[in-house]
């Protein structure tokens, strides 16, 4: 956990007071909506179809049990008793009243949570691996660097009015769980051959209407220089990024139009011109931030405790353990993913009661700590293996032990037309129907790892481009249609999926996905060949033929 200092607490509290005054002036008519809009967006407040939506940041996906209870309280007191965890380590409340928002912000500020820069053309929440600090083989905890970037860019005047929003993700593991290649800047922390800690810097990734995989702009930037190098990138973007056309304003368009070599030269030149502007991170600064992260005092525990051996006789427990429990860097402990994808439920939603219960379980079994991943699931990062059977029983009672992590029903979905004012089509009912079609866990296990991502419009909040199967809602003559792509992936081998053919109507989507999965089962060369690997080997044609032959 990271402990905010007095400066952070003052900043957050002052922001609440400021917003309270702005809301008061808006409601009295002193501020027009045109004047108020940017102010509310800078505090994470959007207007959606039915109500205001309030987006709260969960920096690098880390929450304390106390903070989770505060989110539950906001859901219960100011909303309709639930919240939606997003693909960028935020939580959204869908029914909040503008008049009550300052009180909700004040409640969150008490536990160090805020909504600053969760919207607007600025640096958004710096995201990271939800397993940060506990993943085996990790170079070091990437959240330290996320926090350094967060501190530097929060309310930074130079980065508060960028051409467009700007997103950074950081990983420190070989396997990328933070989707760094589809971010404006992706940072991969590693140790050089000389043993120095630094970053591979990728730039220009992103989804939306013009998707790009990020390109490596510099293979190694020393850790001490990362702040100045990121600032150089932002300065070049701020200077050359387009402000005349919202659809061409993201850095990915600039990188694409200039070419990565020219863009890299511009950044290099800017970096040299900047000289020493006080952004070099000396050891003491890094250690100061590191020291504010607290880590559990782990016990020395056996690799295979008796409790786990006994529970292994229960096939339901074993199925869950096999699916949702992952190795921890400390012997005797595990990382446990809590699926927010129950059969027939909205992906990523949690009720206030579930949030409170997860907070209690975190206190009991995970040193009071909870993580949020971009796949819209939660995670308890420090669970003693001996506690797994008891934890499973508790999670099962809460509906949080669906053994479908990374399987076909672990669907990423945006809120879609049920909530969102930008959407063209619904996402959630498509996801709900698919989870019912593939509800049989034996079948899901047989299929193996398969990520379905659904977006209700081209803005791609559901990351459809990088789903093994991507589903994009479009509108045709007032009807909902869906384009299907296959072969995308968001990990270290990130790539965009390929469109298989004409869009299909709402009522046929689940049938089409079943056809694609059946084709895969018939075509894979061995059970271990994942769907995405089969598509890579075979191309889209066999799947296209299966889908459209009878349609």
């Amino acid at each position: 956990m990271y402990a905010y200092d007095e400066l952070d607490r003052t900043l957050i509290n002052e922001r609440v007071s400021e917003f309270r005054d702005q809301v008061k002036r808006r409601l009295s008519g002193e501020l027009t909506e045109d004047e108020f809009k940017m102010l509310r967006l800078q505090n994470g407040v959007y207007l959606q179809l039915h109500a205001y939506m309030f987006r709260v940041a969960i920096p690098y996906g880390t929450l304390s049990s106390k903070q989770m209870r505060a989110l539950a309280r906001v859901a219960r007191r100011y909303d309709r008793g639930y919240g939606h965890f997003t693909t960028r380590q935020n939580i959204q409340f869908n029914w909040i009243k503008l008049a009550e928002l300052p009180d909700a912000l004040a409640d969150l500020a008490e536990v160090g949570i805020h909504a600053m820069q969760t919207s607007g053309n600025n640096m958004r929440n710096v995201t990271s691996d939800q397993w940060a600090g506990v993943a085996p083989g990790e170079v070091e905890d990437p959240r330290i660097w996320s926090e350094i970037l967060r501190q530097h860019t929060t309310l930074h005047p130079e980065f508060s009015f960028l051409p467009r929003k700007f997103k950074i993700a950081i990983t420190a593991s070989e396997h990328d769980r933070a989707a760094i290649k589809v971010h404006d800047i992706g940072l991969r922390l590693y140790k050089s051959a000389e043993g120095e800690t630094g970053f591979e810097v990728l730039v220009g990734g992103g989804l939306g209407r013009t998707p790009f995989i990020g390109k490596t702009i510099k293979p190694f930037v020393h850790g001490r220089d990362i702040l100045s190098y990121v600032e150089a990138i932002l300065r070049v973007y701020n200077q050359y990024g387009r402000r005349d056309n919202i659809y061409k304003a993201r850095i990915k368009i600039l990188v694409h139009e200039l070419g990565i070599e020219k863009f890299a030269r511009e950044v290099e030149e800017e970096w040299k011109l900047m000289g020493d502007v006080g952004l070099t991170l000396d050891h003491s600064i890094i250690e100061e931030v590191r020291s504010r992260f607290s880590y559990p005092a782990y016990d020395k525990l056996p690799h295979m405790p008796d409790e786990l051996k006994q529970a292994a006789h229960d096939p339901l427990f074993e199925r869950w353990r096999r699916n949702s429990v992952f190795p921890h860097k400390v012997q005797g402990y595990s990382i446990v993913t809590l699926s927010l994808k129950p059969v027939g439920g909205p992906p990523g939603d949690a009720t206030a009661d579930q949030m409170d219960a997860v907070a209690d379980l975190a206190d009991k079994y995970s040193f009071g700590e909870i993580r949020v991943g971009h796949e819209q699931n939660l995670c308890l990062p420090h669970v003693a293996k001996r506690d797994l059977p008891q934890l499973w029983k508790a999670l099962d009672r809460l509906g949080l032990a669906t053994p479908n992590v990374n399987l076909v029903t672990d669907i990423i979905a945006c809120p879609g037309l049920d909530y969102c004012s930008l959407a063209n089509a619904r996402s959630i009912p498509i996801a709900q129907e698919l989870t019912r079609r593939f509800a049989n866990h034996d079948t899901a296990e047989l299929i193996g790892r398969l990520h379905i991502n659904i977006s209700g419009c081209i803005n791609a909040c559901g990351h459809h481009h990088v789903g093994h199967i991507g589903i994009l809602g479009v509108e045709k003559n007032g009807e909902e249609f869906y384009q299907i792509t296959i072969g995308g992936r968001a990990d270290e081998g990130a790539q965009m999926g390929t469109l298989i053919g004409p869009a299909i109507p709402y009522a046929e989507v689940a049938d089409v996905i079943e056809d694609i999965v059946e084709a895969y089962l018939a075509l894979r060369d061995r059970p271990e060949e994942l769907f995405v690997d089969a598509v890579k080997r075979l191309g889209v044609e066999p799947f296209k033929e299966r889908v459209y032959a009878t349609r």
Partner: protein, 105 residues
């Protein structure tokens, strides 16, 4: 930002003006009495582009009470009942189309 009133307005069938209430965001409809109602059945119906422009002008003039006013199509049933003219307005009027709690097959 272009004001809704500066945009070209052309309607092809019966329409209404809708927005969200400023203080709580609730979906509201402009009435013929120059006010707002949370019931679609109270909405003023316009049939020409000029009428639509006038109604939208009245609506956007109320910057304190409403936010994001725009023109949307409706369907009029034989008995005069007003129905939303597209899926988006159906969802705004009738609410979510989804189950909030898990509903297995």
């Amino acid at each position: 930002m272009t004001s809704p009133l500066q945009q070209k307005i052309k309607i092809t069938g019966p329409s209404m003006v809708t927005a969200n209430r400023t203080w709580d965001g609730v979906v509201i409809y402009r009435t013929a009495q120059q006010g707002w109602s949370a019931n679609l059945s109270d909405a003023a119906i316009v049939r020409t582009s000029d009428e639509a422009r006038t109604l939208l002008g009245e609506a956007t003039a109320d910057d304190v009470g409403a936010i994001g006013a725009y023109i949307a199509p409706v369907e009029l049933e034989d008995g005069g009942a007003i129905k939303p003219g597209n899926l988006r307005e159906h969802i705004r009027s009738e609410g979510l189309t989804i189950d909030l709690l898990p509903v297995p097959a």
